[in-house]
């Protein structure tokens, strides 16, 4: 049973990491407390659902399309909600507040329009086949998540470390003013980061909706608290950290529920969060860079 539980943990962790990737980028690079991230997650899943159900698209086409749609949505919402605040140099709390209000309105509007019901992707979207290896069972959707997480993490790291764009983004994250002086168009870079984060959120929404077979407007909201835990433990803006923290959290949660007590499963994430914040707030897996949040 331990083997299966470990697999369960890794799979759960992969979903957390997947959610956290775009979140840590948005948070760590744009330095904005942006609560709308969960909404892009939901939106991606819902767009994919519509494409699959109404237009009959297969998953491999719906997924990237939904991701792009979420990315565009992210750029637009950022512009609507945050531009004015950036211009008047409002305190950090204002961005928290405005994205809070915005996301409340958006979720409610979406729910009013579509209903709060849970939907599933059509069964043809992905094979429900499960593979059995010894004592362990794993489904095609879960393998897809593992693969997607690996690809996305790899791709992001490549982008950040290996391209000029990545360099520009990292420079902007470190010191926006200096970056601007060096000729980096921070406005464009910021929009691009928003776009990438939105895409990641949307892709995450599709994959996770596929895995748990539950797509509904509030799904992004439910992931947000865990998302916070992962990006804090992993270090803001740290991609590798998000991956490791996500996996670790998933495994710890599952092992706690499986071998200690299932009623502690929810509390575990927050205990870890508080412990990390009290001892090493810049994150366990990130570089120990002292940053003002």
């Amino acid at each position: 049973m331990l083997a299966q539980q470990l697999v369960n943990g890794v799979l759960l962790g992969a979903t957390y990491a997947l959610f956290a990737l775009g979140f840590t980028l948005m948070f760590g690079v744009l330095r904005v407390i942006n609560l709308t991230y969960g909404f892009y997650f939901s939106a991606g899943a819902l767009v994919a659902l519509w494409l699959a159900r109404s237009l009959g698209w297969p998953v491999w086409a719906a997924l990237p399309a939904a991701a792009v749609a979420s990315g565009v949505l992210a750029v637009v919402l950022d512009w609507v909600l945050l531009t004015r605040l950036r211009r008047i140099q409002a305190p950090e709390l204002s961005s928290l507040m405005v994205t809070l209000g915005g996301v409340l309105a958006l979720y409610s509007a979406l729910t009013s329009w579509l209903g709060p019901d849970i939907r599933r992707l059509p069964p043809e979207a992905i094979s429900a086949e499960a593979f059995q290896v010894g004592d362990i069972r794993i489904t095609a959707a879960q393998l897809l998540i593992l693969a997607a997480t690996a690809v996305l993490v790899g791709g992001l790291l490549l982008l950040m470390r290996g391209t000029r764009l990545g360099l520009a983004i990292r420079a902007m994250a470190e010191k926006p003013d200096a970056a601007q002086l060096m000729g980096i168009n921070t406005g464009q870079a910021a929009a691009l980061v928003s776009f990438i984060s939105g895409c990641l959120a949307g892709a995450g929404g599709v994959l996770i909706g596929l895995n748990f077979n539950a797509i509904h407007p509030y799904m992004g909201e439910q992931m947000m608290l865990r998302g916070f835990v992962v990006i804090i433990v992993g270090g803001l803006g740290d991609i590798r950290g998000a991956l490791l923290a996500g996996l670790a959290l998933g495994v710890i949660e599952v092992l706690t529920a499986g071998f200690v007590s299932s009623s502690l499963k929810e509390a575990v994430a927050f205990l870890i969060l508080v412990a990390v914040l009290w001892t090493r707030p810049s994150g366990l897996f990130g570089r120990a860079v002292m940053r003002r949040a």
Partner: protein
């Protein structure tokens, strides 16, 4: 009292209580924001106050005049326990840490039988009264206003603007931060006790992430110029669902849109940012 007034007061009794209690909660948020701390532990403190006071009334059968002041004890103790490591954090880290602590407490309420688990505690006798709520609210506003006008208030504003500079100028930031946290615990704890004793039933889901964010929204809407500002914000946001009752489907949407518009176009809050103070 003419019957229509009697009816009116009875109909809106819960709303009247809620306005007062949310005002207290807004103040508990205000005191920490006033020293520049984004602590979101008010809902957690409220829960501690509510549960401890409910248990005192139900199990220990203490009289309410004793329970009310005692309800501040557990939240204050908790604040003391977590204060030191938590107040080292700043900005959003502090916010998330306090939310995390609130969720840990919620897990305790759910899993320990004494607190009733998911069923919560019901049958709490209605001992709280409007005059108690508003009396405390008025006292709190007055006290905070007096503090704000004094030298301490100036020091707090300095901390808010730039903590390091304030420290350099000799402001004992550590002590003020802890003091603000303790004041926040007292206010929220009392609010929790009163809330439990006017609504007969409390459950673990009332003191988590969403209520914490709601309390924050009171202050962000109202502003922190004077102690009256957050209370005003609380009143507007408490009344909104009731005023919008006729718009059931789009009520929440309107709620969110109003918050967005308020923040975008009234960044200093409804009453503006600065407090008028006597010259130094």
């Amino acid at each position: 009292m003419p019957p229509w007034l009697d009816d009116f007061l009875w109909t809106y009794q819960n709303l009247v209580h809620a306005l007062g209690i949310n005002g207290l909660l807004a103040l508990s948020m205000y005191v920490v924001l006033a020293v520049g701390q984004l602590s979101l532990g008010q809902a957690a403190f409220m829960g501690l106050g509510a549960y401890s006071s409910a248990l005192m009334t139900l199990k220990l059968k203490l009289p309410f005049l004793l329970v009310l002041p005692l309800s501040a004890v557990v939240p204050v103790a908790f604040a003391l326990a977590i204060g030191v490591p938590t107040l080292r954090l700043s900005g959003v880290y502090l916010a998330i840490a306090t939310i995390g602590l609130g969720e840990v407490l919620r897990a305790v309420y759910l899993n320990v039988d004494l607190f009733g688990g998911a069923l919560g505690l019901s049958g709490i006798p209605e001992r709280g009264e409007a005059w108690m709520i508003y009396g405390l609210l008025a006292l709190a506003v007055l006290a905070l206003w007096l503090v704000g006008r004094s030298g301490i208030g100036r020091a707090m504003e300095a901390m808010r603007e730039d903590e390091t500079a304030a420290q350099v100028m000799g402001v004992p930031v550590g002590r003020y931060k802890m003091g603000a946290l303790l004041a926040s615990a007292v206010l929220a704890g009392l609010a929790g006790c009163l809330s439990a004793h006017v609504s007969s039933f409390i459950g673990p889901n009332e003191y988590g992430f969403e209520p914490a964010v709601t309390i924050l929204s009171y202050v962000l809407l109202g502003g922190i110029g004077t102690p009256l500002a957050p209370v005003l914000g609380a009143w507007v946001l408490t009344l909104l669902p009731e005023l919008l009752r006729g718009f059931s489907d789009i009520r929440l949407v309107l709620n969110g849109v109003i918050i967005v518009l308020a923040v975008l176009f009234l960044p200093g809050g409804l009453l503006g940012m600065r407090m008028k103070r006597r010259a130094a």
